[in-house]
Structures are given as structure tokens and as C-alpha cells.
């Protein structure tokens, strides 16, 4: 019997879980700091095309987004199924793009106003006519730096 009792005393002590909250808090703070909340919900279908000669869009504070695509199912009854432009949270005409860019530009701090990029997030099934109208509007307000935002992938997959 003494054999058994000896073994018991030699057992490992249980692992202390006292530092578990600390570890979890560390992870929590990491994710809290890297989280970017979506500021506008998408009202258009937005499957971007693929490209492989791409450059990263650094510094999110210097980017203005324009979304283009077919309205999603719930908005199709009101807005139809032709591709539309979404600025912030609402649908807009091409003529409103210029004012939107100027308004967004005015919101940024003065030293950033000259280095802004316009990111065009366009659904791959949209027509170029609408994009050309947007490009004309951008030229009118002198927002010449654009980025055709795409996914990283084989560009020939767009053709299917």
C-alpha cells in the first residue's frame, strides 16, 4: 500500500490558470487595435475583378472609396438592376461624384488633401460607360489619382 501512496505524492501539481486572463487580454488588445469597423454597408453587388500587377493601397486615411455595381436583391425593386454608383450610404448619379469628392477632400486635413487617391471598387460585370462618366467627373474636380481596386489573382479569370 505504501507504494501507491508514494506515487500520489510524486504527481505533478495542476497548471496554474492565474495568468490566463492576462494572455486573453493581450490578444484582446491586439484585435481591438487592428480592427477596422466598416463605415458603410454595401448596397451594391461588389465582386471585384482579378489582377496580378497590383500595388497595395497603403494608408487608409488617404483613400476615398466609390462603389459601383448592381443594386442588391432588396434594392432592386426600387432602383432597378442596372449598375449604380454608391457614395457613402446612398445611391447617386454620376454627376454627384464631383461634389462627393470635394466634400470628402474638405474633411481631410490640409496636408493630405493633395495626396488623396480615389479607390474605384467596381463590380466586374459593370459597364465601362458608367466608369467613363465617373472618370470624367474625377477629372473635373482634379482628383486624378485613381486605383482600380481588384483582388489578387489571375486576370484572365475575369473573362469567363
Amino acid at each position: 500500500m505504501s507504494k501507491f501512496s508514494k506515487k500520489k505524492s510524486g504527481e505533478l501539481p495542476p497548471v496554474s490558470t492565474a495568468s490566463l486572463p492576462d494572455i486573453v487580454f493581450m490578444l484582446l488588445f491586439f484585435f481591438m487595435t487592428v480592427t477596422v469597423m466598416k463605415d458603410s454597408s454595401l448596397k451594391v453587388e461588389n465582386v471585384l475583378p482579378n489582377a496580378n500587377e497590383i500595388k497595395k493601397l497603403e494608408k487608409k486615411d488617404r483613400v476615398i472609396y466609390i462603389y459601383v455595381g448592381k443594386p442588391t436583391q432588396e434594392f432592386q425593386k426600387v432602383f432597378g438592376s442596372e449598375p449604380k454608383i454608391q457614395l457613402n450610404d446612398k445611391f447617386a448619379n454620376p454627376s454627384a461624384v464631383g461634389d462627393y469628392i470635394l466634400a470628402e477632400r474638405a474633411k481631410k486635413s490640409e496636408d493630405l488633401q493633395n495626396v488623396l487617391t480615389t479607390s474605384l471598387k467596381v463590380d466586374k460585370n459593370a459597364n465601362m460607360g458608367l466608369i467613363s462618366d465617373i472618370k470624367q467627373e474625377l477629372r473635373k474636380v482634379n482628383a486624378l489619382k485613381v486605383n482600380y481596386t481588384t483582388y489578387d489573382g489571375d486576370a484572365f479569370r475575369n473573362l469567363q
Binding site: 489582377a51 500595388k55 493601397l57 483613400v63 465601362m128 486624378l144 486576370a155 484572365f156
Partner: protein
């Protein structure tokens, strides 16, 4: 007096649970990806003061119709062959060896009926209003790819490094300033060898 002995200690045992709850919330809502895409400069709206006369042979015209078919220099071209054609055009270096436009680093055919030098060569891209955006991006991608391939070739020769890597490092905000200054000159040099002249004409509607 017995009541003054102090409030009972609050149990911290559930702290981990609360923290886990928050952690899971942030895990689910996090998007770490950064956007990427093709950078382009639009032409300014004011027309240039003087009309620049460009020789026809220095323009490589690419047209996309509503069905996604390509017309490059008046020939029907498959989109997969576009990059090779654009590179042949840019790298042609047709100017004679004595002239100021002579391109010493070009490895093309030196065809007199094609572009004089990379600095003179212009690619003009036209599209129809009905062209699909996906097709347009593929064509843009191939044309940018043609420039990048040529720049990589020269960069490999001069600095033993790919141009696209150098540019990515130069644009990365985490790169140290001293490395950036060094890269800036190299990037500039390569860009001057093959300047990106991609004109986007206004859309035709028919």
C-alpha cells in the same frame, strides 16, 4: 465592529470569461486585409496649350469592343497575346543608332515602322461604353504587366533585382528612410528607361 472588517473580495474568476467574450467579438469583426489594385493617373482636363504631333508609328492603339474583342494596331488580337505584342512595340527601338532617340538597351527587332524608343512609345487604350469592366481590367493588367516585365528586365541587368520588388519596398511605409532614399534613385532611373505612357482616350459610343 464586525461589519467593518471589510467588504468580501470580489471574485475575479469570471474575468477570463468576459475577456474571452470581447476577444471573440473583435476576432469576428476584424478585417486585416489591405486593398490593392492598379494605380492609374487620369489625364488633366485642361487641354495642353500646344498640339503635340505624334507620329503614327509611335502609337500602339488598343480598342476593346462591347463583346470584349481586342483590336491592336488594326489587327484582331487575342487578349493572351496582348502582353507580348505590347512588349514588342515598347522594346522596338526603331531609331537609327546615330539619332538622339536611339535606344541602346532595347532588345527588340528595330523595325522602322514601329516605335522609335520607349520614351516616345505611347499606348492608347479605347473602350466602348458597353465593354465589361472585367475585360477592361484584364487589358489594363496586361499593359501594366508589359511595362513591368520590361522594367524588371532592365532592373535585373542594372541592379540585379526586380523592379516590382524595389518599388514595393520603396512604397512600403515601414521601410527605413535611408533605404528609401537609395531606392528612390534606382526606381526613378528604371522608370525613365521605360516611362509609362498609357493614354486613356474618352469612350466612344456607337
Amino acid at each position: 465592529m464586525a461589519r467593518r472588517a471589510g467588504a468580501p473580495e470580489v471574485s475575479a474568476g469570471s474575468m477570463a470569461d468576459i475577456a474571452f467574450l470581447l476577444l471573440i467579438f473583435f476576432l469576428v469583426t476584424t478585417t486585416i486585409e489591405t486593398d490593392a489594385g492598379l494605380d492609374r493617373m487620369l489625364p488633366p482636363i485642361e487641354p495642353p496649350d500646344t498640339d503635340v504631333i505624334i507620329k503614327q508609328k509611335n502609337i500602339f492603339q488598343v480598342m476593346i469592343n462591347m463583346n470584349g474583342q481586342l483590336l491592336a494596331d488594326d489587327e484582331l488580337v487575342d487578349i493572351k497575346d496582348l502582353r507580348a505584342k505590347a512588349m514588342a512595340f515598347l522594346d522596338n527601338g526603331g531609331a537609327a543608332s546615330g539619332s538622339p532617340d536611339y535606344c541602346s538597351y532595347c532588345k527588340g527587332k528595330r523595325d522602322l515602322s514601329s516605335s522609335d524608343s520607349p520614351a516616345k512609345a505611347i499606348i492608347s487604350l479605347k473602350n466602348d461604353r458597353e465593354t465589361k469592366y472585367g475585360t477592361y481590367i484584364t487589358v489594363q493588367n496586361e499593359l501594366v504587366g508589359a511595362y513591368n516585365d520590361l522594367r524588371n528586365r532592365e532592373s535585373q541587368r542594372l541592379f540585379g533585382r526586380k523592379f516590382t520588388d524595389m518599388e514595393a519596398e520603396y512604397l512600403n511605409p515601414e521601410t527605413a528612410q535611408s533605404i528609401k532614399d537609395e531606392l528612390k534613385e534606382k526606381v526613378k532611373e528604371i522608370q525613365d528607361l521605360f516611362p509609362q505612357k498609357l493614354s486613356e482616350a474618352e469612350t466612344t459610343s456607337n
